[in-house]
Assembly symmetry: C2
Homo-oligomer: 408 residues x 2
């Protein structure tokens, strides 16, 4: 019997949980986390958390995983694991049940099963725990015919200087929350539960603006000072759905995720004047408006020319190269800044954990990346040093577990 099974006997029934206050679809503030936590063996201190951002929860269950359908929190951790040689399908199923149980409990504000520090779980602050698979995991679960054609390392790009230690992997866990303590704790629970079933391959952590720092809906800024993600569609829109969701097969309701670790050369970037930097991107730095517009979300006019007949937005600017002429090629960006202190012989390194969500990596992401690799003024100051591709599993029901569409 897996630990995931054991959970059901000690915890309130999943049906009971779902018919309670936490069943309110999508996002529940306050009550949900507290209600579930009150049933846990060792609840945290009783405090009035109603209305606090810390008490904000996302429902774990649904057609899609909540880490894709919700705004990313201020803190993100990305962990890749490898399956040890000799892993069998039952091992993967066991791990998926464990991680499903962890995600279900932690996202509700409860400690994980046998959590030794459940007090660190009491403020989910919008926590999501999201699981993806690399090609080896898919093949283990469903045979090589189950592996999507796009689930493989990206083609080589001339701009890449990839390092193994930030690349590839058999399994991915993404953890997002507005609270860094919550992320640290969730990360630890996920890692502990992988013991003997998978080995950590890499771990990358990043940050965005804190909850409460800027008006709701403010686009994040990267460490170059630029707004980052302006072209993303609203989360619940048809456009978002069309870009992201896989429609058929065992991955229906899932998506794909590319994570590129992009080192940014802040020192040389800072030597460029503001006009040069805005020209490189195609947007003003202060408001993020395209150079042909007034406001951040104005549509860029790539045909506009200045008095001398030159394009106002350069043909090799980042937004021109990144923007597909074919709308079916669009992606959804999910990025975090990183700023790693020097450690041992490792120098300081800052940059962007650039994540991209799309239904089909080959049809959507690769054409964009190819155009950017061919010509993008930003390439002067950026170097991709890590790259990984994962299939993000569909969501699951209260009776199911992540990956069950292929493992069952």
């Amino acid at each position: 019997m897996s630990r995931g099974d054991t959970a059901a006997t000690h915890a309130p029934s999943r049906r009971g949980f779902l018919t309670g206050s936490a069943a309110a679809a999508g996002v529940a503030v306050g009550a949900a986390g507290g209600a579930y936590a009150a049933h846990a063996a060792q609840p945290g201190p009783a405090t009035d958390t109603a209305g606090l951002n810390g008490a904000r929860t996302h429902d774990f269950h649904g057609t899609h995983q909540a880490g894709v359908t919700s705004s990313p929190g201020a803190h993100g951790a990305f962990l890749a694991f490898d399956l040890p040689a000799g892993s069998v399908k039952d091992d993967l199923r066991r791990l998926m049940r464990l991680w499903t149980d962890d995600a279900r409990r932690l996202m509700s504000g409860a400690g994980a099963l046998a959590d030794t520090e459940p007090e660190l779980a009491t403020a989910p602050a919008g926590l999501t725990v999201t699981v993806g698979w690399g090609p080896k995991a898919v093949a283990l679960a469903g045979g090589s015919e189950a592996v999507p054609s796009w689930l493989r390392p990206l083609p080589d790009f001339s701009i890449d200087a990839l390092e193994d230690r930030w690349s590839d992997g058999d399994l991915l866990v993404m953890i997002h929350s507005d609270d860094p303590v919550t992320v640290s704790h969730a990360l630890r629970m996920v890692s502990k539960d992988a013991t003997n079933l998978a080995t950590e391959r890499w771990r990358q952590t990043g940050f965005r603006q804190a909850y409460g720092s800027h008006p709701s809906g403010t686009t994040m800024r990267n460490l170059f000072g630029q707004v980052d993600g302006t072209a993303n569609p609203p989360l619940a829109s048809d456009d978002f759905a069309a870009r992201v969701w896989i429609q058929d097969g065992w991955l229906a309701g899932g998506t794909s995720f590319v994570l590129r670790r992009i080192r940014m050369e802040l020192d040389t970037w800072d030597q460029v004047d503001r006009i040069g930097r805005e020209n490189a991107v195609g947007r003003t730095v202060d408001t993020g408006a395209p150079l042909t517009g007034e406001a951040e979300h104005d549509e860029p006019d790539f045909d506009a020319v200045d008095a001398r007949g030159f394009p106002i937005i350069s043909d090799v600017s980042h937004i021109r190269r990144a923007r597909p002429d074919d709308p079916s090629q669009r992606i959804v960006r999910l990025a975090y800044n990183y700023d790693d202190a020097p450690r041992g012989n490792e120098p300081a390194e800052a940059g962007l954990l650039f994540g991209s969500l799309q239904a089909d990596v080959d049809a959507q992401f690769v054409p964009i990346q190819r155009r950017l690799a061919e010509a993008d003024l930003l390439n002067v100051w950026t170097t991709p040093v890590g790259s990984a591709v994962f299939a993000i599993l569909p969501g699951c029901t209260e009776d199911g577990y992540l990956g069950d569409t292929l493992l069952d």
Copy 2:
């Protein structure tokens, strides 16, 4: 002419700034940061930030540095620098003027002088930038007779496994804010301005619960799940003042700061049952109440015994050993969690950046640390791997700069 001097010619006069809205003493929400930012060369986008935590500012000027008089933010960065061989007093003065100017501007929500990413400074979120000196800097500024007797490496403790790379230093900058982007940006400005004047010796970054995660005033928890800092007095209390402030000499209005990097062995800690862990600390884990009490802030009763006559709070529990019988020995804790990912050949490491504020290291901190080193059940799972002692400079006036009581 130093860059600090240049600042005065391009920026609004300091008097003008201080008679404006930002002069409202202590903490100003919203208006202050925005008002000053509006005078900056390249202000960020205009947004309605009134009431947002991101707009919260601490006044830079005053008798004390604001990083000591205010609650630490969710994110903390501690940077130590060394003065290069051949540094002269004028170099130190120049650096202090630069850092003073940086702190003054950044804490108000404006970019630093010649800031190439002022948009990353628009949400101070309670930012404080606090400067301290090691013995070499004090001697450079005022001769060896100006060095307080306690300003030297701590005595050796049997529990220590100190590494040079986390220890000592000629200068300290502490950066606290609720926003990780703001901390990253401030850290970069402070580092850039040290170019040619000081070299970075170490950098340690940590985190506490996020703004909005728990009710205001909730004591932080460390990665063992324990409440951490319960015994701290209220910030503006006489007790706080008596513990912290130096009364006489060039450091009047300043204090001392000990930073200990304490590695925590989470794996072995998690093997101890809850009763064992509560016994080690002397407090319950859930509420943080002493084992003889009901609520976190109840006074522990060290004389209470159980039915068999044994002390309820063990004589070798952490709270018993840390608590001085002599009230003049008390300190103020200022701690951050750290959870560093593996990098290169460096394994993952988690623990506590344990900071201690006190008027006199030898009279207050050392006796406590000596008792803890002799016997403290927590020592089984904790190892000090870094240690540094600094004199935290007094605050300065609008016409002054940090360190001017010794440098002028």
